[in-house]
Symmetry: C2
Subunit: 349 residues, 2 copies
DNA sequence: TTGAAAGCGCTAACAT
DNA sequence: ATGTTAGCGCTTTCAA
């Protein structure tokens, strides 16, 4: 078919049909025997056009495999239909689910996302930013573990809209973050509804905003004097915390709400070391739903999922709206977490 | 400064200096009082040009914050200076380090990478591919856990160069993959050099090419009759395997080389359950250097790192060369793994 | 209903 | 050494 087509085209010396070359709208017009503008109108359903002509043009376009050049369109529309995602995540556990959400939303609108992993290097971030600006990206999504690890200068004064995802941006920007408080409450409610009473919270460093928010959510339901043990975001700390909890007198806790799955893993291991059955004698609940951890604990871990994919979708929708010039109310939007029930919380009578 | 500049410009009604609008080369030319082509030549160091004029133009360009439009350049050069990364990884543990390597290499050449996380959905992959082609990407990098999870049709017959990373592509393409055999030998050599003799290999499913290659490397050094236990890529299987090993008669193994860090974690835990000291009584070595696992085992895990960042760099260099039209010898390039020494292998006397 | 022409921002012959 | 012009692939007035 290709060949047949190639021969029937008059070779004007310009649009000679070299086999593997992109077809342009000129080719379409030439083959369909119409002008370029008619071809354009036919393909885009703009202007008034004879139905037959339109069909013919479209048929030709399909036959010769015409795909409009997004580059040419961008030059004209001054919209590149691409955005940049700047991330300082090196692991991917955060960025990839989020980027997948973003990309899926954008895809439906013909927008693509440049990934810029800055590896926490401000110089690199700056270079990526410049490259993105040169590429005329329509917008930017900042994402990363902690905002304070982003050099503040590069965030400011951008000529294009910016959305923050996962970590909070400045108040005049749009940010989507997991609702840590709500996630914590979800965890506690789950435990309480299953009959667990004396609940303690073992979490990471208190200088993390997320840790403080989760602790706040925890205290809301358990009581303002409820016990929160801050430490590291590590298994080891989970271990240690259990040691602390067991070393002291008084009634023992019935459930431990952990600030991360890794901490929870340490807690579960430490409990097993002590012969404490989970969930029969102690419930444990985590935070992150980091599957490689949560699915492999014994028993598998009930935990809070931050719904990063949805977070990404929201961020994608927001940046789309902003690039279209629509107004989006600035502020920090906290998106609900969900609970993934596995086996580490039972029912306490 | 900006303001000063704005006022001193004659307003010809066309390039009126709206504060936050991109400056074009026309603006530069106008302010510098030269023609557009002179401005272009001055900025790009092309053609013959008076040194003073050049400096003046450059100064003006910098002052008004001119950045050449990559879109316009692309239209002309028919190179978009962007590539696509198609991945089916949903976790990011694989894709992000790899994409970071790719992007860093590309960055120096003004090329950016579109990330397309297909989530193993062939329909999505197809849509992403079309979007990328429309955006005139200069090349494509395919990456993912297993090639057979990519729908083969979308891989074939692309009008632009393709490089495969992590998983092997067809023989006529360029692929970069970790050298699983060498990695396995590295692990075994490490054990042997430290005096460990009876070594067994506990790994994942034998229908994974990587599992078979690692087993081959293992057998090369330990002996063709050396014991390989295939199972799942899970902690649980690591546990089970230890049970198997201990249940049978005969001299006990001195070291266990695991096909993944997760398996190794299961092995280490099972050994601790049995009171076997690692590394005093048994050495354990993993594969992946997945830090969240390897750093958190007790003791921390010595393991093989696949150097995904370097893999990404190589893939980036290859796709750059290909997009420039340079020839790159097709085939599967196996890149060396490295060993990360932690505490799970001691010295056996 | 269709076509001719201008122009998006830039580069590269070709004139001057 | 500098300016004029054409044109990359497309959309969009404006004429015909």
């Amino acid at each position: 078919m290709m060949k047949g087509f190639c021969t029937q085209v008059e070779d004007d010396g310009k649009s000679s049909f070299v086999p593997n070359q992109r077809r342009t709208i000129r080719d379409v017009a030439a083959v369909a025997g119409v002008s370029i503008s008619t071809a354009s109108n036919a393909l885009n359903d703009t202007g008034r056009i004879n139905a037959k002509t339109r069909e013919r043009v479209r048929l030709v376009a399909k036959e010769i495999g015409f795909r409009p050049s997004a580059v040419a369109r961008s030059l004209l529309s001054r919209r590149s239909h691409s955005i940049g995602i700047l991330t300082n995540d090196t692991y991917g556990r955060l960025t990839l689910p989020l980027a997948a959400g973003v990309s899926e939303v954008l895809l439906d609108h013909g927008v693509s996302a440049f990934l810029c992993p800055t590896s926490n290097d401000p110089r690199l971030a700056q270079l990526y930013l410049e490259a993105l600006l040169d590429k005329q990206v329509d917008g930017l999504i900042f994402t990363g573990t902690r905002l304070d690890l982003q050099p503040p200068e590069i965030l400011a004064d951008l000529p294009i809209p910016v959305v923050h995802a996962f970590s909070e941006g400045p108040p005049d920007r749009v940010s989507f973050v997991p609702d840590d408080e709500q996630g914590a409450r979800l965890a506690v409610e789950h435990l309480q509804s299953r009959g667990y009473r004396r609940i303690v919270h073992v979490t990471g460093q208190s200088n993390y905003l997320a840790a403080r928010r989760r602790a706040d959510g925890f205290r809301t339901l358990v009581g303002s004097d409820a016990e929160v043990l801050f430490g590291d975001w590590t298994e080891e700390w989970g271990h240690e915390a259990v040691g602390l909890l067991f070393a002291r007198p008084g009634p023992r806790a019935q459930a431990i709400f952990c600030g991360s799955d890794e901490i929870a893993r340490g807690v579960i291991d430490a409990l097993r070391d002590r012969g404490v059955d989970v969930p029969a004698n102690m419930a444990v609940i985590g935070f992150d739903n980091w599957e490689v951890v949560a699915r492999q604990t014994r028993p598998p871990l009930t935990t809070i999922d931050m719904e990063l994919n949805i977070l990404g979708r929201k961020a994608g929708e927001a940046i789309l709206a902003l690039t279209r010039g629509d107004h989006v109310r600035p502020g920090v939007f906290r998106l609900p977490c969900s609970l993934v029930s596995r086996a580490s919380c039972g029912i306490r009578m």
